[in-house]
Amino acid sequence: MRQTEVAGALRQILPAESVLARDEELRPYECDGLTAFRQKPMVVVLPRTEDEVRQVLVTCRRLEVPVVARGAGTGLSGGSTPHESGVLLCLARLNRILEVDPIARIARLQPGVRNLQVSEAAAEHGLYYAPDPSSQIACSIGGNVAENSGGVHCLKYGLTVHNVLGIRGFTIEGELVELGGRAPDRPGLDLLALVIGSEGLLLVVTEVIVKLIPRPQLARVVMASFSDVRHAGEAVAAIIANGIIPAGLEMMDRKATAAVEPFVKAGYDLEAEAILLAEADGTPEEVSEQIAEIEAVMRKAGATSLVCSSSEAERLRFWSGRKNAFPAAGRISPDYYCMDGTIPRKNLGPMLAAIEAMEERYSLRCMNVFHAGDGNLHPLILFDANIPGEWERADRFGAEILELCVRLGGTITGEHGVGIEKINSMCVQFSASERTTFFTIKAAFDPPGLLNPGKAIPTLARCAEYGKMHVRGGALPHADVPRF
């Protein structure tokens, strides 16, 4: 049996307890944060060292077994959903902080280190790691690299790609690759940027060097209410047009505040159609200057009420509702489906109107939470998987939102990744030639195609089946390419 053969070969190189193959041992690994998709892996391995990772890859290459890398399993797009006849390479045990250098302001980490742990380790030096995905208590830095994770502060401080200086990793052939490093701008192609966000299709990352930055002396957040969602959208554009880049700029619609308020008691205005949270950070003088400007712009844009946090406890309370929006959705609905499209900010109004029309059409409710500052939307479609047809409707509802994101000049995923969840929507965003280019990159790094196969990039055949061949300028691209 294939499973016996593969598990046996892996037990030659790893301690017996690091190789799981019994049904009850595999069960906990059958999904990541996208629980709607489940698949039991053939074998799970839990290496403890970089060299064990290398040997696992060499073995899998030799036996031609697909390898799916996994960190903490918090991903929302099914990027680490197991392969039915593959090895799930769990990197959670490589969880050491190898170095924190406060003078050079860097940390060197194994991939299983949790995101928040980095900032905790740097705190005594007045430094922190900026990207803060909502799952930061649990998610791992290796997973952040694979997904190019964002967070609520990336408008000012950037995504993972802007905060990672270098990585070490292995190809499926077991070759060590070092990209970037402590010295900026290495010669040659920027393969570091290419690997970040590549969803485990190119390399398995075993070490990450991140940039640490000084913690701002002070942060305060303004909470503003609006009687019309469009006014809130205009306020967002006006803040930026005024030359202000807030540390965070978030929007929640009425349905979202109604869902979270009873749960977290953040003090949200339940009469408002939308609320905005805008954070300023820096020196005390700078923060008061910026808060005054933000308040003036919001008032001009039609804010019906404004409250500014007057203490750190209050600031955290204002944010608590936003950070708990997903659990709150789970509290008011048996299931929810979280989308992650990004659109140019100016299209927030039309997008919200369209989502409202879709709610009617699909007979499902949708609450909206946005990283408004960078146009990244998280509509949460509420449904009940036990009611026949509801999941299918939610799925189609989501796909329609994503198609609209592309039409409005945006993208199907801002920070959660494509994984298996949004793979069909990739056919809408990219032409056949563009997807072919992605496969050529994949082939350059992973000639046998064993790293996380079937994720992130749909085959031409899959897109043909999805029936959404992307036509640009009236001509079918690559008309001569066989539609295999």
Binding site: L179, A183, D185, P344
Partner: protein, 383 residues
């Protein structure tokens, strides 16, 4: 399709079919920035098979800003658009390119060249590098396909990040015909401070200051003077100035100083031989002859030849393994060294790649450009 883009596409297809190398050309301000900047003497090539001269494709006619919305913080422009045109459009809206791309004194650098070279100015380690601001690109590949990657939004993780891969690719994967860049509001206040101190103390100070919440946007050293630029809200800049001390530099001289660094017009660039070392910013002064110019808070070190008539690589003397000393020292510190000006040293002008990384480069090049038509040898010798 735009006529000039259609025409460009036809030329690429023809070159691909006839396997004719193509040399992509903007304003030519960065012609020196190439692995093959000084091609080997004719005798290296087989005398019976003279190489086909590359077809020069001038991209300057494909130009124009195709989209700019200040409140979206994004500008989109065709590759031939002059950098100066983009910067003046941004200045009207009090915005700017925060990575401060060098124009090398001439105002006619094109935005395509800026992105293809991926070079950044003094703000690089504080605000980000060129690649950090690239949001989207349109690529004309060797098959004549017009491919769109990334887009006009800040957050986009759909598909591989090909746009950032193209930034700094020096055109070896195809023609970057259009780019979308993230832009930022101009800082409300900018001030420069001067401190008299030796290089070692400047490097230590830059690192210490960078670990504190000061709004630093430039830190450089030359001739016994450390220069520190602060940018941001007026209150933040004055609070930092009071804590840091130093001597205030008048705005005109400050602008001149940072522009000379940004555009590589500082006197150090007049040297006949010049090495550019990228090292971890905490690296102490290196044991090389001559006075360096230090930028990026210590991470960038320019080493000129010791004297004007020294064309013999004084700074670039070879060590016992045949490696130029600047390169050996940079490697030992965990960095890289490029011979920016002067006779190309053994090992080439750019720092050699690690073998596994070089293999990935070859495979990518083979797949993007199977006949090797685009800028052969420009980024990596023989590729």
């Amino acid at each position: 399709m735009d006529t000039s883009l259609a025409e460009l596409r036809e030329r690429v297809i023809a070159a691909h079919e006839s396997r004719r190398p193509v040399r992509l050309q903007g304003a030519g301000t960065k012609d020196f920035y190439a692995a093959d900047a000084e091609p080997p003497a004719q005798s290296v090539r087989a005398p019976t098979a003279p190489a086909v001269p590359p077809l020069v494709v001038d991209l300057r006619s494909y130009r124009g800003i195709s989209g700019y919305e200040p409140s979206e913080l994004v500008i989109t422009a065709r590759c031939g658009t002059p950098l100066a045109e983009i910067e003046s459009a941004l200045a009207e809206q009090r915005q700017f390119l925060a990575f401060e791309p060098p124009a090398f004194g001439a105002g006619d650098s094109t935005i395509g060249g800026v992105v293809a070279a991926g070079l950044s100015g003094p703000r690089r380690v504080y605000a980000g590098a060129a690649r950090d601001f690239v949001l989207g690109t349109v690529l004309l590949d060797a098959h004549g396909e017009i491919l769109h990657f990334g887009g006009q939004v800040m957050k986009n993780v759909a598909g591989f990040d090909v746009s950032r891969l193209l930034c700094g690719s020096l055109g070896i994967l195809g023609i970057i015909t259009e780019v979308s860049l993230k832009v930022l509001p101009r800082p409300r206040r900018e001030e420069t401070l001067r401190f008299e101190m030796p290089a070692a103390e400047a490097i230590t100070s830059f690192n210490r200051w960078s670990g504190q919440p000061f709004p630093i946007s430039g830190a450089a050293w030359c001739d016994g003077i450390a220069w520190l630029r602060l940018s941001g809200a007026a209150s933040a800049v004055s609070a930092a100035r009071e804590r840091l001390g130093g001597e205030r530099v008048d705005p005109q001289s400050a602008l001149q100083w940072w522009n000379a660094l940004r555009h590589c017009t500082h006197p150090v660039f007049n040297s006949t031989t010049l090495w550019r070392l990228s090292v971890p910013d905490t690296t102490p002064p290196l044991d090389l002859p001559g006075q360096p110019l230090i930028d990026w808070g210590g991470a960038l070190r320019w080493y000129p030849a010791a004297s004007d008539d020294d064309t013999n690589h004084a700074a670039g003397a070879l060590d016992s393994t045949g490696t130029p000393r600047p390169r050996a020292l940079a490697s030992a510190a965990g960095g890289t060294a490029m011979c920016w000006k002067g006779v190309a040293p053994p090992g080439g002008r750019f720092h050699p790649l690690q073998p596994t990384v070089a293999t990935l480069h070859r495979r990518l090049k083979d797949r993007f450009d199977p006949h090797g038509i685009f800028n052969p040898g420009r980024l990596i010798a023989g590729l």
